[in-house]
Symmetry: C2
DNA sequence: TAAATATTTTAGATTTGTCTAAAATTATTT
DNA sequence: AAATAATTTTAGACAAATCTAAAATATTTA
């Protein structure tokens, strides 16, 4: 019934999905950069995906996934994020170590495996980076979150996601005792360097840089 | 440092390893049959593996893995069997369902992943089919086992492995309440059809066919 | 031991995914 | 609106893994 896709095709489908979330129309060079390949190779693949009805594409006009393409992308992302959750929760991997491995695991084809894994993990809704995990029908849980830099003063909020998965960020957050789920509020914003003073519930306040604040996402808590 | 092998190469290395356990020298057609491919394709791959010093091979003379080749094979088999154990113990897969999935999972490259998985699973020594799991240095646990058909009369023994992974065998064993670890002895052997009468500890005796007896392996228990 | 048969290897294609270099198209400047 | 620059596509090549058909070698049988 449903077509089979190679690992190469799946990697293209996934990256196009991610790019079209922010971009209206995805373009060749973006994909080439993201996949560490050349524009000519991308064009080759675009033709193939178009022919497989996975992609809406007219040459020189940019492109987006078709509905069918989005479904495939979401299935791959589901696998990626569930495996990341598994690695962190069950195998004690750090945040910054899981992405590469999940990049391979996401291509394992068994649907039964991934649905059983989901149950085994307790149907998690968010991966270790706070990114939403699509359910087995491809539906994404909605998380109303904003950038920490945009959080109103003295409003309690909970850290819900991070915008980077680097070891460096993880180091810093560990040291500051900030993790996903941490409750905090912003006491003051400084115009000089755009740093902000935050207070974690039950701790004394401290300053964080603009750069860090921009990398953190929070879910405002109602009172 | 250590070379990288493609999935195709790994599948050849693994099958050659298995074949050379029973065969003195492995030959082209055997490999072709086992991998569902053609003899010509096998020859192509043999040249490549020889050149990579993984295989001792002279044309028309048969072949065996080199020491380096065996190490690689054992690493793949370790992954395959640990994943099978995971699927059965943690995700409630049946015996007969795990092989295909493990065939894919065995090619995931992260050494850290597999060593952590090993710990997570409690360092199992045998997979769900009773096959030994190599440790992280490639050493195989030794299991002194014999075919049930060769077990002496009235000697207590424990089922340790099965020689097939089919749904059909699993069905039969479930019905007879035989699983790995089951303790039994042979009461009588019948010359007419080579069937044998066995008695599971705490149950009444019954007959099993020669074919089934030949598919079961047991570890004789001292006294 | 010579003929017949089976096995293995080579020769030449094919598919997939990639690349470089050049051509075509689109976008941006003057 | 040209000219210039950037992007995208095409043309042609290559490596990996596979295949079929034919040739080479080894094994078995008579
Ligand atoms: Mn990937
Ligand atoms: Mn993630
Ligand atoms: Mn495999
Ligand atoms: Mn097994």
């Amino acid at each position: 019934m449903s077509q089979h896709f190679s690992i190469a095709e799946e990697n293209y489908i996934k990256i196009i999905y991610h790019l079209q979330q922010t971009d209206d129309n995805v373009n060749t060079n973006e994909v080439a950069a993201a996949l560490n390949t050349k524009a000519a190779s991308v064009t080759d693949m675009l033709k193939k995906l178009k022919q497989k009805k996975i992609l809406n594409y007219e040459k020189y006009q940019g492109f987006r996934l078709s509905e069918a393409g989005e479904k495939i992308a979401l299935a791959i992302i589901r696998k990626h994020r569930l495996w990341e959750f598994f690695l962190v929760e069950k195998l004690q991997f750090g945040w910054d170590e899981v992405h590469e491995v999940a990049e391979e695991l996401e291509h394992i084809t068994s649907k039964k495996l991934i649905d059983r894994l989901d149950v085994f993990l307790g149907n998690p809704k968010f991966d270790p980076h706070g990114d939403p995990i699509p359910d087995s029908n491809g539906k994404l849980p909605h998380q109303p979150q904003i950038n920490l830099i945009d959080l109103a003063l003295n409003k309690l909020a909970e850290v819900s996601a991070v915008g980077s998965q680097s070891k460096e960020l993880l180091d810093l957050l560990k040291h500051k005792k900030i993790r996903i789920g941490t409750q905090l509020e912003v006491n003051k914003k400084f115009a000089f360097d755009h740093s902000i003073e935050i207070k974690i519930v039950g701790q004394t306040s401290f300053n964080i840089s603009q750069q860090l604040a921009q990398t953190l996402f929070v879910k405002p808590l109602n009172k």
